[in-house]
Symmetry: C2
Subunit: 235 residues, 2 copies
DNA sequence: AAAATAGTGTCTTTCAGACAGTATACA
DNA sequence: TGTATACTGTCTGAAAGACACTATTTT
């Protein structure tokens, strides 16, 4: 029987008769740490690839959607509800996991500072600062960290996706608290793009979009003139 | 046992003990037909959703990558090799197929005119002109065609992805032959965007990018002044 | 010559970069 | 008062839209 059956003839085909790949969801948890775009990873404690750093993930249950699996894993692995979550890409190289055939659907989760802290309490480690043209994960000591499986490829794609859409979407705000300064917003853009931006032009661009609401209040901790706090209006 | 096992502990988990979803690849074949962005579909001949129009697709074999499955299906279903092929998005709603749990990875295939003809010879039907804000598939007679499963959602995402990247990528050229006129290139852009473009500005933009090579030859069939033929330089 | 489309010149508008300047907080 | 950063005004240059104009082919 031809395994390449068309969807139109799917009912002719008994899927139980064939080997099926396993399906997992892997999470790319990103946030700002010390002014840099960083990822939260777990260090593997068993072979294969013991000691290497990996994205948290898990199997997709038979009765849950991909989005639901990602949300459940975000809750179970990072103790988080309601973080920005979006599907990134699916990875299905035959030998990406040496134990068995695993297809993974990678999701991007964007975290605020207090969400980063919550994930750290749940056991995830903020290890990767995403630097350079091809992403390298950098530990606290500045050394490059070895990544497990194809997770460097996944991290690179996550960083590139973020770069591509930060200009026209609201993803930057997912890293920021409810109220934020224009400087903090610019810092996020610069960390993601890996390049400095022109301040007056950035302010103009953001304000001209009409999505920022001046709250009339100002930041409080600053040791200099405090900046105004803005919030994002609903679309 | 906790099904939400982390990748770091995957080896503790016996996947054969749990139900696994089936994994398919569905193809969104797009091309220009009568000046409009169109899709190639198959009409289902069996329940469920008999008579409805569907994307061609098939199961991912245990020993082939997602990209390889998409290429194989493109060959088997449309008789095509070497068309532009890229992963679009993965769809995994629990009830998207009433027969069983199927997760599908949708791929976008962009076809030239002669590739459209080849696919038609292989049994696919050029039916959908993608019109309006939410995509509707329009048959030759102008009537909206009912789509199977979640395939309208997939088509909409394909159209939107194309719109989003036509400006900064080379996807427009995937619809055109080796040598083409600037008018034909503009027609592709306008069909994808669903809006007219300014001619001098379009020419300037395309030529200033430095990727177009003037061939010195001109189109031949025209009943008016023939336009120069260009080709795309390698990046 | 008429018709049709290719292709160009140029004015205007819009917007980003640059940079200097003013404003306002804390020390 | 000094200093650090917030915030603004304005010049310049790059690029897009608008539109009229010229060029070249077929009928």
């Amino acid at each position: 029987m031809d395994i390449s059956q068309d969807a139109a003839f799917l009912s002719d085909y008994d899927p139980a008769a064939y080997d099926r790949p396993s399906v997992t969801v892997d999470l790319v948890l990103l946030g700002m740490h010390r002014g840099r775009l960083s990822a939260l990873l777990v260090q593997r404690d068993q072979p294969p690839q013991a000691e290497r750093w990996a994205l948290p993930g898990g199997f997709v249950a038979i009765d849950e959607s991909l989005d639901a699996a990602a949300a459940r894993l975000l809750r179970d692995k990072a103790g988080l509800d309601g973080a920005h979550l979006e599907q990134l890409y699916s990875f299905g190289a035959v030998d990406r996991d040496p134990r068995m055939r695993v297809i993974t659907i990678a999701y991007l989760a964007l975290l605020r500072e207090e969400q980063m802290a919550s994930a750290a309490r749940a056991g995830l480690v903020t290890v990767a600062a995403l630097e350079g043209e091809t992403v390298a994960a950098i530990g606290e000591d500045g050394a490059a960290l070895p990544l497990a499986f194809d997770h460097q490829e996944i991290l690179t794609l996550a960083r590139d996706r973020l770069r591509g859409k930060i200009d026209y979407s609201d993803v930057a705000f997912a890293f920021l608290p409810e109220r934020f300064t224009l400087r903090a917003l610019q810092d996020v853009h610069e960390a993601v793009l890996g390049a400095p931006l022109n301040k007056p032009a950035f302010r103009r661009r953001m304000l001209d979009r009409g999505r920022l609401i001046a709250t009339g209040t100002r930041e409080e901790d600053a040791s200099h003139r405090p900046a105004e706090l803005f919030s994002l209006s609903a679309r």
